[in-house]
Symmetry: D2
Amino acid sequence: MTNFVSTPSVPAPDIVRCAYLELVVTDLAKSRAFYVDLLGLHVTEEDENAIYLRSFEEFIHHNLVLRKGPVAAAAAFAYRVKSPAEVDAAEAYYKELGCRTERRKDGFTKGVGDSVRVEDPLGFPYEFFYDVEHVERLTQRYDLYSAGELVRLDHFNQVTPDVPRGRKYLEDLGFRVSEDIKDSAGVTYAAWMHRKQTVHDTALTGGNGPRLHHIAFSTHEKHNIIQICDKMGALRISDRIERGPGRHGVSNAFYLYILDPDGHRVEIYTQDYYTGDPDNPTVTWDVHDNQRRDWWGNPVVPSWYTEASLVLDLDGNPQPVIERTDASEMAVTVGADGFSYTRKEEDGSAGEKTGFKLGAQV
Amino acid sequence: MTNFVSTPSVPAPDIVRCAYLELVVTDLAKSRAFYVDLLGLHVTEEDENAIYLRSFEEFIHHNLVLRKGPVAAAAAFAYRVKSPAEVDAAEAYYKELGCRTERRKDGFTKGVGDSVRVEDPLGFPYEFFYDVEHVERLTQRYDLYSAGELVRLDHFNQVTPDVPRGRKYLEDLGFRVSEDIKDSAGVTYAAWMHRKQTVHDTALTGGNGPRLHHIAFSTHEKHNIIQICDKMGALRISDRIERGPGRHGVSNAFYLYILDPDGHRVEIYTQDYYTGDPDNPTVTWDVHDNQRRDWWGNPVVPSWYTEASLVLDLDGNPQPVIERTDASEMAVTVGADGFSYTRKEEDGSAGEKTGFKLGAQV
Amino acid sequence: MTNFVSTPSVPAPDIVRCAYLELVVTDLAKSRAFYVDLLGLHVTEEDENAIYLRSFEEFIHHNLVLRKGPVAAAAAFAYRVKSPAEVDAAEAYYKELGCRTERRKDGFTKGVGDSVRVEDPLGFPYEFFYDVEHVERLTQRYDLYSAGELVRLDHFNQVTPDVPRGRKYLEDLGFRVSEDIKDSAGVTYAAWMHRKQTVHDTALTGGNGPRLHHIAFSTHEKHNIIQICDKMGALRISDRIERGPGRHGVSNAFYLYILDPDGHRVEIYTQDYYTGDPDNPTVTWDVHDNQRRDWWGNPVVPSWYTEASLVLDLDGNPQPVIERTDASEMAVTVGADGFSYTRKEEDGSAGEKTGFKLGAQV
Amino acid sequence: MTNFVSTPSVPAPDIVRCAYLELVVTDLAKSRAFYVDLLGLHVTEEDENAIYLRSFEEFIHHNLVLRKGPVAAAAAFAYRVKSPAEVDAAEAYYKELGCRTERRKDGFTKGVGDSVRVEDPLGFPYEFFYDVEHVERLTQRYDLYSAGELVRLDHFNQVTPDVPRGRKYLEDLGFRVSEDIKDSAGVTYAAWMHRKQTVHDTALTGGNGPRLHHIAFSTHEKHNIIQICDKMGALRISDRIERGPGRHGVSNAFYLYILDPDGHRVEIYTQDYYTGDPDNPTVTWDVHDNQRRDWWGNPVVPSWYTEASLVLDLDGNPQPVIERTDASEMAVTVGADGFSYTRKEEDGSAGEKTGFKLGAQV
């Protein structure tokens, strides 16, 4: 039974959006080749230990920090809050939750000022900040626009064993659920949660965690994503294309998943939808709907369900990974006992493997 | 050992391009829903037995005939020749080859005049014609332009057991090879052959044959193909998406394979390259190159290798299917003894499964 | 000198976004042909007097009401507020401003509940509502997706003589300025103002007003807009394309302006940028920058500056149009005494007609 | 009255396609910035006097030679022929026409072998060659693919005073007319002529000549062309965008015209249609059809009609420019006595300025 995170009596910090991820990588040069040469993220600043990268339309100092370290992991999921006072609010909120927090007036990374980092109830290193250096927003610097240009940071995706517990915690924190995946027995397999007016700023994927599932950047159009695939083919690293491109059922976005040199997963993503109305309809998908993860019914590769990146505690040590005890989405949809459907039977039931793309599942 | 088709002493007919396919379908209404409602091909004419369809930029009567019949099969692969006299040339050519031929001054289908049909040396029903009714070319009828519009017939693809034999026969017939797939032992797995200035008018895929592998229509841009996938998702027939979308290694085209209600395979295809120069370089791919069939290394589903449509003889009976005795591409690349690579080893060798996308092959 | 609108002591209503426009049209059938047959907006409901239309990804009842009437005009600019209580807040706010208001518990249009309409200080008919009927959100109904699909209502654009006055009023109402156009003498020619996280929910264009400059819908990608042009060419109504397609300097969006049968202007718009951060940088353009209105320097046609739609008061009578007394953007950029530049001189000054596209202005 | 070019008794050379243009430019560094840095053409070879450039999918040595010289001009319009013997055929053909010819076994430019250059009957420097160095075809080098990538040389466009005379000469030379523009009095304003299976390899534009109107490169998709505009905006050289982007009536291609540092005009072009059938329908446009030059009715800027590049004789001196005596397209469509229409009247006549976009013509 889920042991929910308590709801603090103090108000949750007013979060604007996911803002940056700090990633520990084991070979900075290889990671630079991936994020800068391949993906074209823009270097705001770099030194021998870290590279600060931003997307094309970003005006804050960075969306991604690559920091050299011994163990590949995610060191911080950073959110921007609405005002300097909201950093105080975040600190108070997590203190009341009994979480370890660390406040640094000069920030944890270059370009960012007063910040608080916490080990949150799910075991993730969350950061909250408002002060940040503004840098040139490249929006109309089309002289720098590559064929596969990444224009915005879109979201994080976190793996956690108990999705309802995580969802409740994030809802208390002010996130709203745009979509989720459930089964008829009430198991929740995943949930998408937003502050800005898109489908998500972060999502919870059920699995062994806490781990980082992926970070996602968006492009303007679908052809930009296809170009990234084509370029990976040209560079003969197509084996680093893990899944896609495809159209998500959930979120409706056109997507691609690729793997960086350390195995950190990056999603390239475009064209989800507006979620800013207070009564934005939540979409619930049946875990056996074969189009939930890929609208075209293409299979999810097993690694996408099983692999993810470690996350660090505030001392920089990997958090222990706790096993999911709820049913696994992979097991119930791919395994011998699972069944899925593309369309409902005429009587409304989800027929066993009706219209299932068997050929693709070998 | 390959028993080559002899080369006639009379000149081969001067073929312009692949022009139309006659398909036997078992349920005309279901096929109409697929080709007209889903894919948006334009009806030139129809009656209770047949539907004559053309693509958006076509000015001849049809690119596809759907004819109602008891057994799903391909009844004719029709090529347009350069002049009326070339129909005579075709007839003479096949007669000398010892093939059964049938000449009809009024054509075999509506809209087409003087034609000859043959049972060719590979067992395929080929047709050659020049006279054809011109119809409205819809090129600028953007009021009829759907989001997934098919603008041209691009090519046929035929399954035949002995690719070198078929290739020699088609080269004699005036086709030129743009690309092929081979192995270091000299086995040819497939060849692409053109008359018009694209990568192919037809291709030979090694396998049990004679069978129709697919017919391909082209779109203007890549997003048009994505729309077809999205629409099939919306119609909850994603299980009829067999493979893709993806980027071909061979031909460089962006592609999608879908299955019609009878299991006839249709490719949607865009952006291959110009091949009109006499010395257009032929591209040879190693069968173990994991990017040959999909530039992004995504796996070919087994059905794509094994399933194909019967073809009819001139009496309308299915041609017997002869088994391929050469190595099968699926076996040498997917099976237990196969190996593939994404990139060469530094010593230039193709390392065993170097960079192979294992996860995707489960 | 600008006579600013006073700032009420009661809080401004919390506006979510621009939600719908009510347009009076003189021939409902002709307007239906334009908005439904040409543009593909989806009919939620219609009768002999009115048509209720929505965009592809909308879940509220409508984004556009076409109502039959004797004089073509805009009858209401409707904004959605965050909760039912905010309708009360809006009513109180405008009452304190001394504006005429009208509250209707059952709404002014089908599908919308409790609403207040006001004659605002600038003379525009504004509406505020929360209660609205949810309808099918067509986001994944790709079977209904046309090649030029309009996916969201993006913004309104209003013509008003005194832009700084209007801007101050809208800032008080909670809008934030994303971009504006000024000259070195301090004249403001236009301002873009948002509540949702895009460049604008409405904009103020300096000119004789109050008038509706245009309503804008967005597409997913740029090719969707090109298709609308192509389709208008095919329908031989290219003379209803007023301006574009082009890339805006302001907002960076790809755009097109077309005219409906009554001369109401519709913009089709895609790919502006995220503005949700509290310190989102405001972009100010020099009125003499030749790329401000079209990033490619293509000229603005005079009608775009001079023509606009009347707006109605709460009795349904056209508001009188007041002349702008400030300098006109057309006069200072197109006329004999104006000058513009594409790039600054090396000394930083804006040279007279440096790099100006004279040929295009003949 | 047109004094037609005589038809030689010897066969015309068998031309494959337009292959390259040699352009004299006055500042090699500035031209390099334009063609390489801005447009992304690929340098095959360069020295202090010349740069040899090719498009992405080209496999011959170059499509464009920029040669430094005192007077900006076109030095050669080079066509590839089907075999070495066709160079002899070309030489014999032009000799019989009484034209000055020059044969060079080692070619006139690097990378090209045995060639003949001629001063053709219209005064243009034409070259014919077969032997050419093959270079890396970059088709799948997506690591080099820019957002506005030029993938093929598409065509030349030549200005000549007497279009029917030029057309007859080119038809004798084996070109076929795909489209033309005429008036009801029988004046021909322009003609499009092809060897390869596209709308043209060259076109004749009526005007003072012989002059080069433009050279055209094609892109894969429409967004690639938009990116070139966007990049020119970013570089603040939007005044070098002369016309477009737009959709041509003639050819149906999506287009853009830009000007290089010497004023040589370059078209970027995509998605015309297949013309390879022997009876490909010729499309004739009425000069008063307002959608002939731009399907969206956008006006042609006057410079597009009047400006063009000089061409050189075989000594490298500019050919004298002869005035057109037939009616000018600009005069009959833009001037005071002209009239145009967007759609025909109901009685079938082309009403005076029916639906003409007057506002845009100011």
